[in-house]
């Protein structure tokens, strides 16, 4: 039972962290619970559908369908995080300064919540399909599956608790810093996702450049351990990164920084004109 708990918990860490960060980044936004819940439900539904068609997806594109699917989902999430960051750079400052006005500002704009709800949905979709297949496998096995299934369910609960921990950890940060911190976290999330996406493209046989391994830190901090997993989800930690992964990671960080700076003057101009 404990084994099943750990397996499911490991699978849901990434989605759990993302939901926690999104909730913290949108504190005070009216209707955000509704948006995040919609993202989770849509992602879960999508995960069920993906699990149902897992074999067909895996065999598409000459056996590279699953890799291309994962790369696409990650790529879409990166684009959503970019659009969110650009929007926040334009509207975020006044929100951070005057937290009470946040609800109105974002309800007027609507965009950051749809983008972030999509990020939540995509994260749940990607990891949820694995959980669905794992739990289905337990049920299909029949005999003595009860305690295993219970373990899996407790793993999901542990994932939800982890989300709550992330959220309460983040919102305990003073309000004037939380905007900066969630912006940095979202940039790191996007960079890590993009680095993962290029590795999927490599595994799909689509990219075969710069695939040399830069270092191996797995003896000290294995990526498949719990701490490694958390860092992997949070900042894109990879114990054996390729050259292309590091380049992509740094490039996306640069793009996120550029989006923040480029969008900011528009905000100032806007403030003057008002």
């Amino acid at each position: 039972m404990f084994g099943a708990l750990i397996i499911v918990f490991r699978e849901v860490i990434e989605a759990g962290l993302i939901i926690g960060i999104v909730l913290a980044a949108t504190r005070g936004v009216s209707g955000r619970g509704h948006w995040v819940l919609t993202g989770v439900l849509a992602g879960t539904l999508g995960a069920g559908i993906v699990a149902l068609f897992a074999e067909a997806i895996a065999n598409a594109f000459e056996g590279a369908g699953q890799e291309l699917f994962n790369a696409s989902v990650l790529g879409a999430a990166v684009v959503m995080l970019m659009s969110h960051t650009a929007w926040m750079a334009r509207h975020g400052r006044e929100m951070a300064v005057e937290l009470a006005a946040v609800g109105a500002a974002v309800t007027g704009g609507k965009r950051p919540m749809t983008a972030l709800a999509a990020v939540v949905g995509l994260a749940v979709l990607r990891e949820g399909a694995e959980v669905v297949l794992f739990l289905y496998g337990i049920l299909a096995a029949g005999t003595s599956s009860g305690s295993l299934f219970l373990g899996g369910t407790l793993g999901l609960a542990a994932g939800a608790a982890f989300t709550a921990l992330t959220y309460y950890g983040l919102i305990s940060i003073p309000a004037r810093h939380i905007f900066t911190i969630t912006t940095v976290l979202i940039a790191l999330l996007a960079a890590g996702m993009a680095a993962q996406a290029v590795q999927y493209l490599d595994a799909a046989g689509l990219i075969n450049v710069l695939s040399g391994q830069l270092w191996d830190s797995s003896p000290w901090l294995p990526q498949d351990g719990i701490v490694g997993r958390i860092l992997h989800a949070l900042i894109g930690y990879t114990d054996r990164p390729t050259e292309l992964q590091l380049i992509t990671y740094l490039a996306i960080l640069a793009v996120m920084a550029a989006l923040t700076w480029l969008a900011a003057p528009a905000r100032r101009a806007h403030a003057r004109s008002v």
Partner: protein, 108 residues
């Protein structure tokens, strides 16, 4: 725009998969264990490993060393592309049954 992007992807895919001279290897999952548990592949080359899952339940073929993470649904076959690898041992495992499903790719 979206159509042309798709065309580029499809074109790139056909280019990438056209020289499909990658050497092929097979591994079977039975009763949540790999068979064989040791796969010897040539170093410095791209290789294809076909993973047949004969169990009713899904397995995730995972290896940080090989930079692979792939779900193999029950009663189905999946293709894992790895390499080019430097000579050495690369461990892999089934994430859903990590206690029994273990194996190693040896590049030489």
């Amino acid at each position: 725009m979206r159509g042309s992007a798709l065309a580029v992807v499809v074109a790139a895919l056909s280019v990438a998969s056209a020289p499909a001279f990658a050497q092929e290897f097979n591994v079977t999952i039975r009763d949540h264990a790999f068979e064989p548990q040791e796969i010897r592949v040539p170093a410095g080359k791209r290789v294809s490993i076909y993973v047949s899952n004969e169990d009713a339940s899904a397995e995730e073929f995972e290896s940080p060393a090989l930079k692979v993470e792939k779900i193999i649904p029950g009663k189905s076959k999946g293709l894992v592309r790895v390499g080019p690898l430097a000579p050495g041992r690369y461990e892999f495992f089934g994430e859903f049954h990590p206690n029994t499903a273990k194996g190693v790719v040896i590049a030489e």
